[in-house]
C-alpha cells in the first residue's frame, strides 16, 4: 500500500508541474471568470446561461485534463526509462498502475476543486439573491463530474497499456463521446419492443459494455429548477457504485495487459 501511495504522490507532483495541464486549467478558470460577461447575451436567461456555461466549462476542461493527464502517464515512464528504476524495487506492476491512476485522479481532483471554488465565487457574486441551498445544489454537479472524469481516466489508463498517447487520446475521447451521447439511445433501443431481437440484443450488449457517462450529467436538474427529483439519493449512490465497478474493471483489464507487456 505504501508503494502505491508513494507512486500516487509522485504522480500528483509531476502532474501539477506539467505546463500543458496548467495551461488547460488556466483557460478553464479564465472562462469561468469571464462567464458573467455573457449576461449581455442572456436577457431574462441570466441564471440559465450562467450556470449552464460555467458547469459546461468545468466539464469540458476536466475531460480534456483527464485524458491529457492520463494518456502520457505510462508511455512517459517507459520513454524516460524511469519505470525500470521503480520496477526493480519490490513493487508489482499492478502497484505501479494503480498508483499512477490514483495519482492522476488526485491531481484531477485538485484541479477540479480549484475550478469549483471559482465557480462558487462567481455564482455568489452574480446571483446574490441565491440561497446557500442553491449554492450547495450547484456544487453537486462538479462532484459527479469528478466521478465521471475518474471513470474517463480509468478508460484512458486502460488504453495507455497498449496504444500510443495520440491514439489513446482519440480512443478515450471517442469512448467518452459514445458513452455520453449514445448511451441513452442504446438503452432506448434495447427497451424497444418493436425492434428485431438481434438489434435489441446488440444494443443491450453495447449498452452494457460501453461506460455510461451520460448518467453523470446531472446539471439539467440544477439549471432547470422546476422538476422535483425522485429518489435522488439512491440515484447518486448507484452512479457512484457503477463508477467503482467500471473503474475496477478497466484497471483490472489494464493490469492484465500491462502485466504481460514487455517494457
Amino acid at each position: 500500500m505504501g508503494a502505491i501511495l508513494s507512486i500516487a504522490k509522485t504522480t500528483i507532483g509531476e502532474a501539477i508541474r506539467r505546463r500543458v495541464l496548467l495551461v488547460i486549467l488556466l483557460v478553464g478558470v479564465l472562462f469561468l471568470v469571464i462567464a458573467p460577461g455573457l449576461s449581455v447575451l442572456s436577457l431574462r436567461q441570466n441564471y440559465t446561461v450562467l450556470t449552464s456555461f460555467t458547469l459546461g466549462v468545468i466539464q469540458l476542461t476536466s475531460a480534456v485534463i483527464a485524458i491529457v493527464l492520463t494518456v502520457y502517464l505510462l508511455p512517459n515512464e517507459v520513454e524516460r526509462r524511469t519505470i525500470y528504476t521503480i520496477l526493480s524495487k519490490p513493487v508489482y506492476r499492478w502497484h505501479f498502475l494503480l498508483g499512477k491512476y490514483l495519482g492522476a485522479v488526485g491531481a484531477l481532483g485538485m484541479m477540479m476543486l480549484l475550478m469549483s471554488t471559482v465557480l462558487v465565487l462567481v455564482f455568489r457574486i452574480m446571483q446574490q439573491q441565491a440561497s446557500m441551498d442553491d449554492v450547495l445544489q450547484l456544487a453537486t454537479a462538479p462532484i459527479f463530474f469528478f466521478v465521471q472524469m475518474s471513470l474517463l481516466a480509468a478508460v484512458a489508463m486502460f488504453f495507455s497499456t497498449f496504444v500510443s498517447p495520440i491514439v489513446n487520446f482519440f480512443l478515450s475521447g471517442g469512448v467518452y463521446l459514445v458513452g455520453t451521447l449514445f448511451s441513452p439511445v442504446f438503452q432506448d433501443l434495447s427497451n424497444n419492443q418493436t425492434l428485431p431481437a438481434a438489434v435489441k440484443g446488440a444494443a443491450t450488449v453495447i449498452h452494457s459494455i460501453v461506460p455510461n457517462f451520460a448518467q453523470y450529467n446531472i446539471q439539467g436538474g440544477i439549471i432547470n429548477q422546476g422538476p422535483e427529483l425522485r429518489s435522488i439519493e439512491l440515484y447518486y449512490v448507484q452512479i457512484v457504485v457503477y463508477a467503482l465497478f467500471y473503474i475496477a474493471a478497466f484497471l483490472i483489464a489494464g493490469m492484465m495487459i500491462f502485466d504481460r507487456k514487455e517494457v
Binding site: 455573457l38 447575451l41 442572456s42 436577457l43 431574462r44 436567461q45 440559465t48 446561461v49 450556470t51 449552464s52 456555461f53 458547469l55 459546461g56 466539464q59 469540458l60 508489482y92 499492478w94 463521446l177 455520453t180 451521447l181 441513452p184 439511445v185 438503452q187 432506448d188 449498452h207 452494457s208 459494455i209 461506460p211 455510461n212 451520460a214 448518467q215 450529467n217 446531472i218 446539471q219 439539467g220 436538474g221 439549471i223 432547470n224 422546476g226 422538476p227 422535483e228 427529483l229 425522485r230 429518489s231 435522488i232 439512491l234 440515484y235 448507484q238 452512479i239 457504485v241 457503477y242 465497478f245 467500471y246 475496477a248 474493471a249 483490472i252 483489464a253 493490469m255 492484465m256 502485466d259
Partner: protein
C-alpha cells in the same frame, strides 16, 4: 497476480456495472433526461457537439434571447427554427414551449389578419411534447387546453381533457381552475361543470374557514358562489334540468320554441381569389359571428368547417403547403352580414392547387356568448333553420351548416369565368341591399313574439 482471479474480478465488475446501469436508467430518464424519449435526431452535427460539450442550456438560452429580436422585427419565419432548436436543446424551457405554441397558432396571418390554421396541428404537437417533457407543472397542459378552447373554439372535449390534467398538478393556480367548468359546459357536460364548481367551492370554503381574515380566500368563495349560482339559474331557465327529467315539453323554457335564424348567403367572386360574402341571419347582432371556411374539397385531415386539428405528436413546422384553408368570422349587423375576403395577396397561405373547393358556413351555439346561449341552449335546442339546421356534422349538437361547391376556375376567374362573374347562393337567398350599411344598429329580441312585434 492470479490471472484467473483477475478474470473473475473483471467479469464480476462488468456484470455488476451493467446491472447497476439498468437499475439507474429509469431514475435517470425521469430526473435528468433532457427529453423523455431521448430524441436528438433533429439536431445537426455541430449542434450535437454543442449539446455533448455540456452547453446545451446556455445555447438554448442565448438563442431564445435572439428570437426576441426577430419578434421585434416581425420576422416570424425566422423564429420557427429557433423555437424547435431551443426545445430540442433544452426541453425544460417552459416559456419557449408556451410562447412557441402561441406564436405558431396565432401569429402567421394573411393581409386581413386571418390566422393560417394549417399551423395549429403543429402548435398542438408542440404543446403535447412540452407537456410530456415537463409533466411536473400544470403550465403546458393549461396552455394546450387554452389552444383548444380559444383558438380552435369548436372541440371543447379536448380542452377539458388537457385542463383536467393541468388541475392534477400541485402548482395549478386557484383562479385558473374555474375554467375547466367552462370547458365542460361548452362540451355539453353540465353535470361535470356543476360538480367541478361544487368541488372548488368546497375547497375554497374550507380554506376560508381556516383563514377568515384572508381577503383572497373570501373573494375566491364569493366568485365560485356567483359562478355556481349563475350556472344553476341558467341551466334551469334554459330547460337543461327539464330535458334530463323528461319534462322539457311541458313548460315554457327560454329555449322554447326554437328560434328560426333564417340563414341565407351568397358568395360572389369579384376578382381572382376575392370573394364578396353577404347574407341574412335573424339573430341579435351583438356577439354573433357566423364562421365561413373555404377549403379544398378532397384532402385528408379535413372535416366539416374544420381541420382534423390533432394530427399526432410529431412537431412539423412546415404546414401542408398544398392545402388551402381559409377561416373567417362573418360579423352580423342588423340581421345581415357582409364581408369582402381578399386571398389574392397571400399566395403561400392560399395556394389553390386543387381543382375543387367548398365554401362552408357554420354556426355552433356552444361557441356563442352566454346571452345567445340563453336562447339557443348549449346544444342548439332553442335554434332552428328551415334549410340548414344540421345534426350530423357535430355529433349530438344542432348547428347551422351550409356548403357551397366552387371550382378552381371560378375562384381564380380563369377559363370560361374570365369574363363571367361566378355567384353561389344558398336556398332562398334574400338580397340584403342597403340594410347593412345603416349606421343605426337595430337590436331585435330573440323571442318570437318580440320578433313578430317589429
Amino acid at each position: 497476480m492470479n490471472r484467473s482471479l483477475m478474470l473473475a474480478g473483471l467479469a464480476v465488475c462488468i456484470a455488476g456495472g451493467a446491472i447497476v446501469n439498468r437499475m439507474n436508467y429509469p431514475l435517470w430518464q425521469e430526473n435528468f433526461s433532457p427529453r423523455k424519449d431521448s430524441d436528438l435526431r433533429g439536431l445537426s452535427g455541430d449542434q450535437l457537439l454543442i449539446a455533448l460539450a455540456g452547453f446545451r442550456e446556455m445555447v438554448a438560452g442565448i438563442l431564445w434571447v435572439r428570437a426576441d429580436t426577430f419578434f421585434d422585427e416581425g420576422n416570424y419565419d425566422a423564429i420557427l427554427p429557433i423555437i424547435r432548436l431551443v426545445t430540442m436543446l433544452d426541453p425544460k424551457q417552459i416559456d419557449v414551449y408556451a410562447t412557441g405554441m402561441w406564436h405558431i397558432a396565432y401569429n402567421f396571418t394573411d393581409e386581413q389578419s386571418r390566422s393560417d390554421r394549417r399551423y395549429i396541428p403543429s402548435a398542438l404537437a408542440l404543446g403535447a411534447e412540452g407537456s410530456k417533457n415537463n409533466d411536473y407543472t400544470y403550465e403546458l397542459f393549461f396552455e394546450t387546453g387554452w389552444l383548444w378552447y380559444h383558438k380552435i373554439d369548436d372541440d371543447y372535449s379536448n380542452a377539458a381533457k388537457w385542463w383536467e390534467e393541468a388541475n392534477k398538478r400541485k402548482d395549478m393556480q386557484t383562479a385558473r381552475k374555474n375554467i375547466l367548468a367552462m370547458a365542460y359546459l361548452r362540451d355539453g357536460n353540465m353535470t361535470g361543470a356543476i360538480e367541478h364548481y361544487e368541488e372548488l367551492w368546497n375547497a375554497a370554503s374550507d380554506n376560508f374557514d381556516k383563514n377568515p381574515n384572508d381577503f383572497q380566500a373570501r373573494q375566491n368563495v364569493d366568485t365560485l358562489e356567483v359562478n355556481l349560482d349563475n350556472l344553476l339559474v341558467r341551466l334551469a331557465q334554459r330547460g337543461n334540468f327539464a330535458i334530463e327529467n323528461g319534462t322539457y315539453d311541458q313548460y315554457d323554457y327560454d329555449t322554447r320554441p326554437p328560434y328560426d335564424v333564417g340563414f341565407t348567403a351568397q358568395v360572389t367572386v369579384e376578382d381572382s381569389k376575392i370573394l364578396r360574402v353577404e347574407g341574412t341571419w335573424n339573430v341579435q347582432p351583438v356577439g354573433t359571428r357566423v364562421r365561413i371556411v373555404l377549403r379544398d374539397k378532397d384532402k385528408p385531415n379535413l372535416r366539416p368547417a374544420a381541420l382534423k386539428w390533432d394530427q399526432g405528436t410529431s412537431v412539423d413546422l412546415e404546414p401542408e403547403k398544398d392545402m388551402t384553408f381559409m377561416q373567417d368570422g362573418l360579423f352580423v349587423k342588423n340581421q345581415a352580414f357582409f364581408r369582402r375576403i381578399d386571398m389574392a395577396r397571400d399566395p403561400t397561405m392560399y395556394p389553390f392547387n386543387s381543382d375543387n373547393y367548398v365554401i362552408e358556413f357554420y354556426y355552433n351555439p356552444r361557441s356563442a356568448p352566454p346571452h345567445i346561449q340563453d336562447r339557443f341552449g348549449f346544444n342548439g335546442e332553442g335554434m332552428t333553420d328551415k334549410n340548414y339546421l344540421n345534426t350530423d356534422v357535430r355529433e349530438g349538437q344542432r348547428v347551422i351548416y351550409a356548403q357551397l361547391e366552387i371550382s378552381r376556375d371560378e375562384l381564380l376567374r380563369q377559363g370560361e369565368w374570365a369574363t363571367r362573374t361566378p355567384v353561389k347562393r344558398t336556398i332562398g337567398f334574400i338580397p340584403t341591399g342597403a340594410r347593412n350599411t345603416e349606421e343605426v344598429i337595430n337590436v331585435p329580441g330573440l323571442r318570437n313574439d318580440v320578433q313578430e312585434g317589429q
